[in-house]
Symmetry: C2
């Protein structure tokens, strides 16, 4: 499967394709044309065919795409079959919300552990995932190669924690803190979930021009 020079715009659409194809599968739809999918997703048929052509040929002239096999292809493109692992740093409300409500497995991840400084949490298990003391993070990472660290610690703890994750060899950081992380190690990716940025964009869109 080819994969050169995929723009960030395309990368951001891939999860949406996956989500829509999943819904279609659940709805029992067997085949779909780029035209129909485009209408459902508010994209042009051209754009969908152009996007997919970054990765290969998945359709058939005169027929369109088989929903299930296209979904499988997108899943593979996204790396969902690569058995990525994740750990949670910080078991506050947000960390707990992710552990108990977010299905990491639906995105191809296995959540293997959580870490916190609070002694009353350490040793417990939430949603089947053990909570360890942050003291043991370094040794844990050494013994257990981990793909992604999920940063749900307080803002002040974010930067040093990110450094420890990078030193421990993670490949990505899923950053829920509003700290701007500067990760220098090449090959390590930071994906930010900035709640405030999102709410401010919404604020702009609902506001009257001053």
């Amino acid at each position: 499967m080819k994969r050169e020079k995929v723009s960030s715009a395309v990368i951001r659409r891939l999860p949406r394709y996956y989500r829509h194809l999943t819904d279609l599968t659940l709805a029992g739809v067997v085949r779909i044309s780029s035209n129909t999918l485009g209408k459902a997703m508010n994209l042009t048929a051209s754009q969908i065919r152009q996007d997919l052509s970054c990765f290969g040929e998945f359709g058939q002239q005169g027929y369109g795409y088989n929903v299930e096999s296209l979904r499988n292809a997108v899943s593979e493109i996204l790396g969902m079959d690569q058995k990525h692992t994740a750990i949670i740093l910080g078991v506050g409300n947000l960390g707990r919300a992710l552990m108990e409500n977010f299905h990491f497995s639906h995105s191809g991840f296995v959540l293997t552990a959580a870490f916190d400084v609070n002694p009353s949490l350490v040793g417990k298990s939430l949603a089947g995932v053990p909570v360890y003391s942050v003291e043991h993070l370094n040794s844990y990472l050494q013994s257990t190669p981990t793909s992604v660290g999920v940063l749900t610690v307080p803002r002040t703890a974010a930067a040093p924690m990110a450094d420890r994750l990078v030193a421990g060899g993670v490949r990505g950081i899923w950053n829920f803190t509003n700290a701007e992380l500067n990760v220098h190690k090449s090959g390590v990716v930071v994906e930010n979930v900035h709640f405030a940025d999102s709410l401010l964009a919404l604020s702009y869109m609902i506001s009257e021009a001053p």
Copy 2:
């Protein structure tokens, strides 16, 4: 202040400007040039000047921008002074995390109430915000004009809840469920926070090409 045809790329950068300008203010920086700000934010100086020119003239030749007054200008552009109000729908882990850890006021919002179906939560108060029964949502919206509904209900409850919010006159929905909302009423905006999309994009970026 002019405001015609502002592209979504620009809108998405506005909160980042605000965040960086806030950091600079806290660090005691008084003035900054588009060049220096660009380096800090990984943008070109041209782009910053072009972006700001959508809304007016905020700098001074030979000097640059006054950090505090530019921050105030961006704040106003984002509508942070418009006394927007928000309510939370669904006080599960995520709703609670937002109530207790997210500072709505830092984005110019006042969180006025939360709603849940769970009788053991109704009547309580979290972080100073009262939790009401969802039964009272409609009458609440009628008596208390509300800018934004924050959707942290289970996926299955998302669509009907969105309908009630729109009927109740909210101007925006901050959607944390993975449901794809179809809001038809013009002037009502949906801002999605799709955790899974974000994690899948990260998955793509850390994955080996198949």
